[in-house]
């Protein structure tokens, strides 16, 4: 499996390395580690010149000055990128993963992302980046945009690593959920784990039962022995409760629910789960 691992060297990224290493210990993986130097940081050099006066050869002089300032910071950024990528590589190699490729580009992660995405089967990224040390409950802006833009499954890793034993699939019968179950049941890494499948019922539970039955059959056909449950009530709190009660440590869900309007952004359930969750979430479109 080809994995695209987006890193920015933050604590959150370190956690993603651990999950990659876990996946790598289960199945054969080929990893491309991507670090994008954010152009904004280079671009917005803080010049404190408000003199509004253009002197002799002002354009050339200003260009020289900017080049001088920016080359310094760019050099530091390059060093930083090298260091981060090298560190990630040696971490993974230490865990026995040999096929690791490192890539460094400059620009916006969101703009560069499409170049690398087609080569990958799975995208892994931290929940929050280096720019997001405040408002800890929120989703990193880069993370959210990547999830929105990606056509491949995305694994969003939490703030701390814990070994994966019990996985939970939230199934609502939607297209992205169908993809999810197919993907998961074909993945040998998940075979030895305890699989839970839940469906949340809003009214009578008839739909939910039907969906659950459907998912159960698919899983059984692939030699899984899922524990199936129907939850009643509001989706997010019920799911969170279930995760806590059953000690779930890996969540799989569709990025888009049924509600049409929400399809414009990522699903509301998805967004809430991503924000509140302490466990990795694998998202499907």
């Amino acid at each position: 499996m080809k994995i695209l691992l987006c890193t920015d060297g933050s604590l959150s990224s370190q956690v993603s390395y651990e999950y990659v290493a876990w996946l790598g210990s289960q199945i054969e993986v080929e990893i491309e580690i991507l670090y994008v130097t954010d152009q904004r940081k280079v671009q917005a050099v803080k010049t404190k010149d408000f003199s509004g006066s253009i002197g002799i050869d002002s354009y050339q002089n200003l260009l020289d000055k900017l080049v001088e300032i920016e080359s310094e910071s760019a050099k530091i950024n390059h060093q930083r990128a090298k260091y981060i990528l090298q560190e990630a590589k040696s971490f993974l190699e230490g865990k026995g993963i040999t096929k690791v490729k490192i890539t460094h580009t400059t620009g916006f992660l969101v703009d560069q992302f499409y170049k690398f995405e087609p080569n990958a089967d799975l995208i892994i990224l931290g929940k929050r980046g280096e720019n997001a040390n405040f408002a800890a409950a929120h989703l990193g802006s880069n993370t959210e945009r990547i999830i929105r833009a990606s056509h491949k499954p995305c694994l969003v890793t939490p703030r701390a690593f814990s070994p994966v034993n019990r996985i939970l699939l939230a199934y609502d019968g939607g297209k992205s959920c169908q993809k999810a179950i197919e993907y998961l049941t074909n993945l040998s890494a998940f075979k030895p784990l305890e699989l839970h499948i839940i469906s949340v019922a809003h009214h009578d539970g008839k739909n939910a039962t039907q969906h659950l039955e459907e998912a159960k059959n698919i899983a059984r056909n692939k030699e899984f022995n899922p524990i199936c449950n129907i939850l009643f009530g509001d989706t997010e709190p019920e799911m969170e409760k279930y995760v806590a009660e059953q000690n779930i440590d890996f969540l799989i869900m569709g990025a888009y629910g049924h509600s049409r309007i929400r399809n414009l952004v990522i699903g509301s359930t998805t967004a809430q789960m991503l924000q509140g969750s302490q466990i990795p979430i694998l998202l499907f479109r």
């Binding site: 408000f50 509004g52 006066s53 354009y59 260009l63």
Partner: protein, 495 residues
């Protein structure tokens, strides 16, 4: 991803953009007034134009952080239109609208891709000519002026030039204007002021149609001006876009910018403004003050309107001398002094192109003419250089009966003489092989030259073989050459 609204083009540098916008707005006021005076219209025409153009290009433009407003380059082209007609101002509005339409057309036919024909030498000629014209436009202010005017201009220049060495926290042109105005008030001097030059804005710009007859006669009057403005405007805009591209190390969309300039001028014409374009100086100021995104352009436009309505009654009493000082500084800042300093290092042909652009512009007062003359001369000189790169060497076989000519280079109308001279038709040979592997035949002249070579050798009794033609050259020979079509040989006499 062709997305019209990209958040990072607006909100990635809010504080820096806003401050830069304020600095630019303050710097734009005196310039817009001065350019209006160059064009021969009321200061409010330039101020309104600067407001609408800045706002519209901030949203539609292809180069974030570039400042567009009423400019000297376009104002200089308007002077005859405004001066020669009784109803000049209304013709100017009509010409501005037509400029917008033409620029939209340029944008749609992707004229931005053709900017490559304007070489660096022509560009430098353009800015130098622009600087000289802006400077010359200030000279009338010195006619019959008292020593007070000279003193004020000198004082203003000193403040603008020296103040940034003390502090970079305040816009020095603004400080110069305030100090000169205060001195003028305190001494009760009677030097000409901005108020003497025409009406200043007191209200927001409002929509109105130009008061001109809508007929062919009007079109004849405004079309030449509009055409010249549309081209000069785009040229300066592209040039400025390149400058900002380099400064910020980001890319711009030239064709989108052309369309944005078109829309901006089109709308400006209906709101009592004169045609404008991007401004090199102001854009540099914007970047220098920390502006990086569209927000800087937008805030410059909005703040300009705010300042001009708030300070309108104070603007009246600004002595013209203060504005002249600002404009002289603008012209010094626009001029590419490096092009003079390095005149010994730059190839002579490029200096000739640059000087031609400058001289033609200064004499015709028309930047469009200067640029076209520059481009034409540049093309001719380039063709000459390319023609020098035709190399023919030859090899005689040991028995002295066969010769191989190896030709390398571009064979076209300029290089054919050089090419023909390389052949010795007097030599007594059995066969001649001409190897064109490293040559390219471009046009009729080249084919005619090949014909001449082949036929001349044939007349001397030698067999001629052409080898190594590339496909394009071979096709051209097939179509045009006569040496391989014996029936056509008699045609050669008519050549």
């Amino acid at each position: 991803m062709q997305q019209l609204f990209k958040p990072e083009e607006w909100f990635s540098n809010v504080k820096g953009d806003f401050l830069a916008g304020a600095v630019v707005a303050l710097a734009l006021i005196p310039e817009a007034i001065a350019f209006s005076i160059i064009a021969g219209v009321d200061p409010k025409v330039g101020l309104y134009a600067s407001f609408t153009i800045a706002i519209i290009t901030s949203f539609l433009g292809g180069r974030p952080a570039m400042i567009s407003a009423a400019t000297g380059a376009t104002a200089l082209l308007m002077t005859p239109l405004v001066g020669d007609h009784e109803n000049g101002l209304q013709y100017l509005f009509a010409a501005t609208i037509l400029t917008g339409v033409l620029q939209l057309i340029w944008g749609f036919i992707k004229v931005g891709n053709q900017i490559k024909f304007v070489s660096r030498a022509v560009m430098i000629g353009f800015v130098n000519a622009l600087a000289i014209l802006i400077f010359m436009a200030q000279l009338p202010q010195f006619e019959n002026a008292s020593w007070v005017v000279y003193a004020m201009v000198a004082g203003g220049l000193a403040i603008i030039y020296l103040l940034p060495r003390l502090t970079k926290a305040v816009p020095s042109p603004l400080v110069a204007i305030i100090i000169i105005t205060l001195i003028s008030l305190a001494t009760g001097s009677t030097v000409p002021t901005v108020g003497d030059m025409g009406e200043l804005p007191t209200t927001l710009p409002s929509f109105s149609l130009p008061q001109v007859p809508f007929n062919l006669e009007t079109l004849k009057i405004i079309f030449p001006t509009a055409l010249a403005i549309s081209m000069v405007g785009l040229l300066e805009s592209f040039l400025t876009a390149n400058v900002v591209d380099e400064l910020t190390d980001t890319a711009s969309d030239k064709n989108r910018e052309a369309k944005a300039q078109g829309v901006a001028n089109f709308i400006t014409g209906f709101f009592g403004g004169m045609a404008g374009c991007a401004m090199i100086g102001q854009s540099v100021i914007n970047v220098q003050s920390g502006g990086r995104t569209r927000l800087s352009t937008l805030s410059a436009g909005v703040l300009l309107l705010f300042f001009m309505l708030v300070v309108a009654k104070w603007v009246e009493i600004i002595p013209m001398a203060a504005l002249v000082a600002v404009m002289i500084m603008v012209s010094i800042g626009t001029f590419s002094w490096g092009s003079l300093r390095n005149i010994n290092k730059i190839p002579r042909s490029e200096t000739a192109v640059m000087l031609t652009t400058v001289v033609i512009t200064v004499f015709s007062h028309n930047l469009a003419m200067g640029v076209f003359a520059g481009i034409a001369l540049n093309a001719v000189l380039f063709a000459r250089k390319l023609a020098d790169l035709v190399f023919v060497d030859s090899l005689l076989s040991p028995d002295g009966n066969n010769r191989i000519y190896n030709v390398a280079g571009q064979i076209f109308f300029v290089s054919v003489n050089h090419f023909l001279k390389a052949f010795d038709f007097q030599e007594d040979l059995e066969s001649v092989k001409i190897d064109l592997t490293h040559a390219h035949l471009w046009d009729q002249s080249a084919i005619a030259a090949i014909d001449k070579v082949v036929l001349n050798f044939r007349r001397k009794g030698a067999e001629v073989n052409l080898v190594g033609l590339n496909e394009a050259s071979a096709t051209l020979i097939d179509k045009l050459a006569v040496h391989d079509k014996s029936d056509d040989l008699h045609d050669l006499s008519s050549h």
